[in-house]
Symmetry: C2
């Protein structure tokens, strides 16, 4: 898949991880073709959402400050895997700054026009010399078809790369969005870092991008990982090269930009699903839809508790129609409701009504719980609040992967 | 171990679980020796703490109401394993009432003088006919040495029985407390039911017992399972036969009762530790001590997040000194603090100071993380709030046990 006009990417080995690519580069450019540095005359506009964890990794702090300093002007993004550069104090911050400065030097731009993202082990100092030494090679390999290499280079325990695209209409023309990301970890409760980068040719202002990204994230990444329940490094970025001719996109809710906003949400949703499906060792997904809650907050509490319950997730692993664990989890979630109003369904089959089990054939329930994707609908019968979460099962591979991850 | 004076117990098979004892009976009595019904002239006084889950199992509702109706007067307790009788609606409530009435009939007492507790699968109707049919056999086997049988009969996925005892001084004499319990499940986040029953010969009033039990639970069961984060059936009971001569114990904080209160806390702490150590498939414990939080609530948020993090628990399983996951979990816990004030120690070894890693030998950290019991101390450097939690690791046995539990 080619990148949208105005972007080049590459992925190389820096040596931080053994024997696999671990450094990705995105550069705003694309006029000069494969092999050149290809830096464009005009920078991209950009917006990003970062983790709300109290411990914010150095690349998060630096990217946030840089975006603020430039008002959302970006020339390049440097992403590394293998070291999160989190909880590394001033020395870690300085190391990240050196990577940023090295990339800026190579691209002949201001330091703050380079954004950073890292994923990997926490509490280990960034081996920034390795990254800086690998940057020239990453620059040499930049290409409009560099997405495959870049999307591979950012993975940690992910089974495979995650890439999504969508198109939109603007000013009578068709534009493109291409995104890539990484997740793994149980996502939810999420200590594994989630990274996502979406590139588009849209002529969008930075404030417009920010507003559109917030809404898209609410309907995608936030259904798999809620505010605050994030790693030290979680980052979602959208970059717009402005190569699609037409007036600037602005006005967060204008109908004219609806096509773009829908497409951005679609790309984010695809990436979010791929991240859950690839949850470390996951074999099965569960979608939890909570309706009829007193408030949206009550619905979120209930859906979140179910999506993060190890007992629900291990039952999902074995395809066990153990709805009792699901309701017991809802009961301890903090959501307010009366048990006797509760209804629970798996797919189209009602299992509980008025808080009591109904007559159903165990075989019918078992078949629905054994599918690749299990939809649980819980109606609390207490109001109009609703929320949904997507989660994956917890099996032996999860334990193996996470028990060994530091090695 | 003999029961305190005034109590008899037994454990038998009712057939709810295949091929293992699943029905325990405690009766206030003991004058008439082994084999008799042994109902005492005087009932025991009792107090209990129940789950705060919105879904409360039928035995919880009935025991709570019964205690209220009698003012804490108890003749017997019927405990069954294999079926939680939770989320079973009115039919489940009626089934539990029939068990209560049957036991009351056999013991010639009022229905409300019988308390109930159940543990097992949620959402399955109680096979009360089996329990009622087994009650006469349970009665026949009542004995002052029936603790071993009773403590076996209440287990589900527990590896083994949990029994604890302590002594106290009152009125110049030595009295006894004997408790037994069951847990398993990850405890925390706890969907597996925790049950504990403590018997004593103390001449205590019910209000005194209630106050003493609350305090004891705060320093024991609540450090492994916090308010609200409980199953549908969690129950902790204390029963006092009053066979120790002397004035009645009353006054929740009187110095004269300090010895008894300490002993009750000690029994509860022992049971709580046994429950965590026996967490499904657990191989290692972690004690998380959070100090220097802005408030006690902040400390609890931080300690709870670490104790329930699957990523921390899988790292603990492999003995991996992955303190980065611990701090990242503290960072998303909702506790308020400044990362640069944070200190983290494992046992006596400081790993993080002022929010940055200090120089230590990996080998020294690894050795401390590989112990059977790992003590993590986190100082948030933000105030005087503190809290502690105990948790166990999450390994392959956890997945196997919980994926198969319904069978």
């Amino acid at each position: 898949m080619n990148l949208p006009r105005g972007f080049l990417a590459s992925g190389v080995r820096s040596g931080v991880r053994k024997k696999r690519p671990d450094l990705a580069l995105i550069v705003v450019g694309g006029g000069s073709g494969r092999g050149g540095t290809g830096v464009a005359a005009a920078p991209a506009t950009a917006a990003a959402l970062f983790t709300r964890n109290r411990f914010q990794a150095a690349p998060v702090t630096i990217s946030r400050e840089s975006l603020r300093a430039t008002g959302g002007r970006v020339r390049g993004v440097v992403i590394n895997a293998g070291c999160a550069n989190a909880v590394t104090g001033r020395a870690g911050h300085a190391a990240a700054r050196r990577v940023q400065a090295a990339a800026a030097g190579l691209l002949s731009c201001a330091r703050q026009e380079i954004l950073l993202a890292s994923t990997g082990v926490i509490g280990v100092m960034l081996p920034d010399a390795k990254l800086r030494a690998a940057l020239p090679a990453a620059l040499m390999r930049l290409s409009s078809s560099g997405l495959a290499a870049a999307s591979h280079a950012i993975l940690t325990t992910d089974v495979g790369p995650k890439v999504a695209q969508a198109t939109y209409r603007w000013n009578g023309r068709r534009g493109r969005l291409v995104g890539f990301g990484k997740g793994a970890g149980m996502i939810h409760p999420n200590m594994a870092t989630m990274l996502a980068f979406v590139m588009t040719d849209a002529p969008a202002t930075a404030p417009f991008l920010k507003a559109a990204l917030r809404r898209a994230a609410d309907e995608s990444f936030h259904t798999i990982s809620v505010d605050g329940d994030t790693s030290t490094n979680d980052t979602v970025m959208v970059l717009a090269s402005g190569r699609l001719p037409g007036p600037r996109m602005a006005g967060a809710t204008s109908p004219a930009t609806a096509s773009f906003r829908r497409a951005l949400t679609e790309v984010c949703r695809q990436l979010a699903f791929m991240i859950v499906r690839d949850g470390e060792g996951a074999t099965r997904l569960m979608e939890i839809q909570v309706n009829g809650a007193r408030t949206a907050k009550d619905a979120q509490l209930a859906a979140h508790a179910v999506a993060t319950s190890p007992l629900v997730k291990t039952a999902l692993f074995s395809g066990d129609p153990n709805w009792g664990r699901i309701l017991a989890t809802v009961g301890r979630s903090g959501a307010r409701f009366s048990p006797r109003n509760v209804t629970l369904k798996v797919a189209d089959l009602t299992l509980v009504e008025h808080g009591s089990p109904v007559a159903y054939r165990e075989r019918d329930a078992a078949r629905r719980f054994a599918k690749d994707r299990v939809l649980i609908t819980i109606d609390l019968g207490s109001g109009g609040g609703s929320a949904s979460r997507i989660t994956c099962d917890l099996g032996h591979d999860y334990v193996s992967l996470n028990a060994d991850y530091r090695s």
